[in-house]
Symmetry: C2
Subunit: 243 residues, 2 copies
């Protein structure tokens, strides 16, 4: 199994970096592990026309169209191609990050935009269970300041998976990846060293238990017609649109 860990934290000694190290140690003995440390790499997260060595239309940028063109001609900028090679070789992709504004840090959002390219990863009707990265698995591992009781139906912020829908459904599931249960390290800036060590042990147990865990459920295009309208056979939305 090839594991790709994409790590995005500005502090090299952070708890989030310790989570990355736990994943490397846990998988490293039996699997091949690659780490992209975006801050250490100085990764450029800004999508632009400079991402393509040979533009299909040099006068008017439609980013997804240029990605499709570059997918066919292998003309991505070298920093994108290097990450794309890692992504395509991976069986399991872990995004490891601190929650910033209920999402990934901008440097990681830009990695997704520039590396999950139209053409190879999705495009046309190749999305959700027909996505280009079908067969791969994705997982989020993150630290945050909030506590567990602040999330859920009764929590002040609402369900955590609602806040993360744009990543788990809108990114991982969209390109066809199976989505493994996330690992959340709550309240990190405020807890004791002992609590942090306990969280790292729980993270290791989470990783070791992944093969036993149920996959999250996401939309299937089988429930929709070619214009993406719900099929009559699924009048109650049981195909889990937006589940």
């Amino acid at each position: 199994v090839n594991v790709l860990i994409v790590h995005a934290h500005p502090e090299p000694k952070s708890f989030c970096a310790a989570m990355r190290d736990v994943a490397v140690a846990t998988f490293g003995a039996e699997h091949s592990v690659t780490v992209s440390d975006l801050y250490a790499m100085g990764f450029n997260p800004v999508s632009s026309g400079a991402d393509f060595l040979d533009r299909a239309d040099p006068d008017y940028l439609v980013y997804a169209l240029e990605q499709r063109n570059a997918s066919a001609s292998r003309s991505f900028a070298p920093d994108i191609q290097a990450e794309l090679d890692k992504l395509l070789a991976a069986d399991l992709v872990i995004l490891n990050f601190p929650i910033y504004w209920f999402s990934v840090p901008a440097i990681l959002k830009g990695w997704i935009e520039r590396v999950f390219v139209s053409g190879l990863c999705f495009g046309g009707r190749r999305f959700y269970d027909r996505g280009g990265l079908k067969g791969k698995k994705g997982m989020l591992a993150f630290s945050l300041g909030g506590q567990a009781h602040m999330f859920g139906e009764q929590g002040v912020h609402g369900p955590l998976d609602r806040m993360l829908a744009h990543i788990e459904q809108g990114t991982f599931a969209y390109v066809g990846m199976d989505v493994l249960p996330f690992f959340a390290a709550f309240h990190v800036p405020y807890v004791s060293q002992e609590d942090r060590e306990e969280m790292l042990l729980r993270y290791r147990a989470h990783l070791l238990g992944l093969s036993e865990m149920p996959l999250r459920r996401f939309p299937s295009l089988d429930a929709f017609d070619r214009n993406l309208r719900p099929l009559a056979a699924d009048p109650d939305g049981s195909a889990c649109a937006g589940c």
Copy 2:
């Protein structure tokens, strides 16, 4: 009324840029309008220790703590301070962007991370209806490839406001801003010039009608105790956690 439009599209001739121009023209006659064109500015979206001229702790970066320190001592990097001044002067903030992965482009995500600073905009128990930007309004205006019928409870992607919860609730409402109804320009890359012109007219009507539109409803800290646990007086969650 001071209007701040934060525009983030890599193509200067894009439909999204035309939306920005409609907003400038619609508000410009009666109001003061400021535009931050993030791509044109070459805005740096990567949060880092270099964002602070005078670090509280130069050896270990806790980004929110450094923001609080810099809020007190006014020691933000000049590019942040310039945007922060615009934000604090604004009564209405419009984020104008193409949907990338069911969210804002990375360059705009980084603008939020670096400019919505802990200390001035939120911090401690100053969030949601006690947030530091209470009194300001926020609105999303975006273009996307998808069509309207792909969203909603029966749509393949689920409700659009679920995908955007991390911005509308987790960012605007979190800092205390009132959230105005978003404007979505669907299917932009695939429609005729005539349809595009009609969408721009509808956007103008949306902007002119904003004062009549109901505000979106978001959590109130009144329904939670000081540890953010739901108050017994609200056993059914009617305070709209995660609404």
